[in-house]
């Protein structure tokens, strides 16, 4: 991937040196399988149709917020289109670093004419955010643990049940999702979770619940850690992004199964940095319109098990490009998987993230 980027960058440089016709667009993404799926589904067909466009990938999405702010302060934004999770998009929008868009103008309508704002619906969580996929943070567990006596976890609260399912768990080293799951398993109704979490008592309640498994938790900070820990048998059950677990189960054939219960939906999408010059902005908008149309979003699911963000794309999801299996049952949005889901409350976390994160880190350090 990197080498390709380099070569692309090299040729791009050579081109700009010789002719002014070519346009380089710098796209920022996460690298790995996800970036490949974007390249295969969006940019390869687009550059094939538009030979004047060269796409340069930058694998900086993990630090995109900080880097964009630094670039903005330095007055030199070199990125054209940035892939970020929804919460980062909200932050960037608040900071004035991402451009507001008008969904019905800037995004393509569905094939049947449904306007984009309706086709994306609730997933347009911020004025600046152009959704691409729905992914979920959910659990995978090993199916070959003898101590469990043939039982397998079926619901989220089994994660907190050390007696029936002994062994180490892996959880993300941040409060988001973990706090919600803890409250759900401590008897708080789903719709009350954020109201409870808003209070000191509610936060203490969540920490108390997490305390019951704290000694048996390995905390992860990169999405690749849980699949590795599961593969190494270091943990018996762990949370991560559903696409990572798909790769572990279907591609690496590890004895691991999905626990879809109380999966937390999250969104990933594009933002356009503010302050792009007119001509570049026009090119970026053209690419975005193409890359987020119904067919392109459906195509992406051929390469990775994340659900397209458009309602109109769902029926078009086909088979995996190399494994040849039906992708629909592996989508977090598949009805069988989505029996009990949890919606990430972006607005709420934007308010409480700083405060609860400080408490969470203090709790971890105790």
């Amino acid at each position: 991937m990197k080498l390709k980027t380099l070569i692309l960058a090299g040729t791009a440089l050579a081109f700009t040196g010789s002719s002014a016709l070519a346009t380089d667009l710098t796209l920022v993404s996460w690298g790995g399988a996800y970036q490949s799926s974007q390249k295969n589904a969006y940019t390869d067909p687009y550059t094939a149709e538009n030979p004047g466009i060269t796409v340069i990938w930058d694998e900086s999405s993990a630090e995109a917020v900080a880097k964009l702010r630094a670039m903005n302060e330095a007055g030199n934004v070199t990125w054209d289109l940035v892939d970020v999770v929804a919460s980062d998009a909200i932050r960037l929008c608040d900071e004035g670093l991402a451009m507001e868009i008008d969904a019905d103008v800037d995004l393509a309508a569905a094939p049947d004419g449904t306007p984009a704002s309706e086709d994306f619906g609730d997933l347009l969580v911020s004025e600046c955010f152009i959704p691409q996929i729905v992914y979920s943070t959910t659990f995978g567990y090993r199916s070959d643990i003898d101590e469990w006596g043939g039982k397998e976890p079926t619901e989220i609260c089994d994660v907190f049940d050390l007696e029936t399912f002994p062994g180490k768990r892996s959880l993300e080293k941040r409060p988001i999702n973990n706090m919600e799951w803890a409250l759900l398993c401590d008897g708080v109704p789903k719709e009350e979770v954020y109201n409870v979490l808003e209070t000191e008592e509610g936060q203490d309640q969540a920490f108390k619940k997490l305390d019951t498994i704290k000694d048996n938790v390995v905390w992860w900070s990169a999405g690749a850690e849980t699949p590795q820990l599961l593969a190494d048998k270091e943990v018996v059950i762990g949370s991560t992004y559903n696409g990572r677990l798909f790769a572990l189960i279907e591609e690496q054939k590890q004895p691991v199964k999905m626990l879809w219960d109380a999966q937390v939906f999250d969104l990933d999408g594009w933002i356009i940095p503010t302050g792009l010059p007119e001509d570049r902005l026009a090119e970026v908008k053209k690419l975005v319109k193409y890359a987020t149309d119904t067919q392109r979003l459906a195509d992406q699911a051929k390469y990775i098990s994340y659900g397209p963000a458009r309602k109109s794309s769902a029926p078009l999801v086909g088979q995996h490009a190399s494994l040849g299996i039906d992708m629909a049952p592996h989508m977090p949005t598949d009805p069988n998987n989505a029996k009990n889901t949890f919606l990430y409350n972006y607005e709420w976390w934007a308010d409480y993230r700083d405060d609860i994160d400080a408490k969470f880190q203090a709790w971890l350090a105790q």
Partner: protein, 421 residues
């Protein structure tokens, strides 16, 4: 050395005072020397001094409130926060005028993010108010309209925060870095469950010292051996010492995971040799042990290299002399060799210590919860929470801690007692 002989001023051949001529000659030389180092000086200023000054500035800078809500800040300064009542209509009117401009320039959400560091909820307060501002009746009265838009405007605490952070410069970030805050009765410590930075500073210093000592413990004998061996052999072994530099940091850290985890190579071996049983596998990673082992490995060359280059200059005849004078091996080492290697220890220890207190990738990957450093929080505030002011004040504290340690080192060992070769 006087320029006068019998009260007479010495002059050059053409009658100019010797002193002035000398000064002129030296000035030219100085200017040439300065021009020679100027590129480096500029480079250092731009890439080193400027960022540090910028960091120091950011840790107290707080112009955003006064810039975004200029009128509100002026009106609000007359409000008494102890009154227990929200400000009057004048302040709300000023807020309305300021918000209209801010929403037009899309700076209101930015201010919301800034103030949200101080009190949760302000972020959405500004976002929500921004959406409602266009629908407000521009003739007022504004107080009820604002409270109607979001009831937090009717909350004294919101205004207290706004007033407290009105000045262009704030000690708020530093208070936060010290786990303190400004309460109604002045500065007070935060509740126990929110105190973290001082604890992390302490742990960072403690672990860095442990890592420095382990590096010294492992590195000293190796450097000693390298210095004692013939040059050809020692050069070959030096390649082994430097080998880790040729491997990516992430690869090395991941390798430690493979070795140290509970289903890892070392535990497997111990179980196989029956030194431990399967249930009693050692936890050597995702805790302090993991951080210490992995960081000692990564920083070891920085200890060995200065030690080696200092030891190389210690002639073997000193130890021989000591032995010929009647000292046994240990006395000869301890009284004669060791004191001469102290400058190398000083240099190595300072290098390793300073590198380790700033490390965050390795602790993040292998440190679990008990092995993470203050730098991990700084990195978090830089890249995730965007609370750069807090990150800057934590960085400033770290810088001060290092300087204090330097002074202590100078008092105990002497700063001139540091030698890289």
């Amino acid at each position: 050395m006087s320029d006068t002989t019998d009260g007479q001023v010495l002059t050059t051949q053409d009658g100019k005072p010797l002193k002035a001529a000398l000064r002129r000659a030296l000035r030219r030389e100085k200017l040439r020397a300065f021009l020679l180092i100027a590129p480096l000086l500029i480079f250092v200023l731009v890439t080193f001094v400027a960022p540090i000054v910028d960091m120091l500035f950011r840790s107290v800078e707080n112009g955003i409130v006064a810039d975004t809500l200029p009128n509100t800040v002026i009106e609000l300064s007359k409000w008494d926060p102890a009154s227990g009542e929200v400000p009057d209509e004048v302040v709300f009117a000023a807020l309305y005028n300021d918000m209209v401009v801010a929403v037009d320039q899309k700076t209101h959400t930015r201010l919301g993010s800034r103030l949200n560091y101080e009190q949760s909820g302000i972020s959405s307060l500004f976002r929500k108010t921004g959406r409602r501002i266009k629908r407000m009746d521009e003739d007022g009265p504004f107080k009820d309209q604002f409270i109607g838009a979001d009831k937090k405007w009717g909350d004294v605490a919101t205004w207290q925060v706004l007033q407290q952070f009105s000045p262009r410069y704030t000690d708020g970030y530093f208070l936060n870095a010290f786990d303190a805050k400004r309460g109604p009765d002045g500065i007070e410590m935060k509740p126990d469950d929110q105190q973290i930075y001082m604890f992390l500073f302490g742990r960072t210093l403690f672990l860095s010292i442990v890592i420095t000592l382990s590096c010294l413990l492992l590195g000293y004998p190796i450097a000693f051996l390298l210095a004692a061996l013939p040059l050809r052999t020692s050069n070959l072994l030096m390649i082994l010492v430097l080998l880790p530099f040729w491997t990516s940091l992430l690869v090395r850290t991941s390798a430690w995971k493979v070795l140290l985890q509970q289903q890892g190579v070392i535990n497997d071996f111990l179980v196989w040799t029956r030194l431990i049983d399967d249930a009693g596998r050692l936890v050597m990673i995702n805790n302090q042990t993991g951080t210490i082992i992995a960081m000692t490995h990564i920083l070891l060359p920085f200890m060995i290299l200065p030690l080696y280059s200092v030891m190389k200059t210690i002639s073997p005849s000193y130890v021989r002399a000591a032995k010929s004078l009647g000292a046994n091996d240990w006395t000869a080492f301890w009284r004669v060799y060791f004191p001469q290697s102290v400058p190398g220890i000083g240099a190595g220890a300072v290098l390793v210590f300073i590198l380790s207190i700033g490390y965050y990738i390795t602790p993040e990957l292998v440190g679990g919860t008990s092995g993470i450093f203050i730098s991990n929080r700084i990195a978090y505030h830089i890249s995730s929470s965007l609370n750069w002011g807090l990150a800057a004040s934590l960085g400033t504290l770290l810088l001060v801690a290092v300087l204090v340690l330097f002074v202590v080192y100078d008092k105990i060992v002497g700063i001139d007692n540091v030698k890289l070769g």
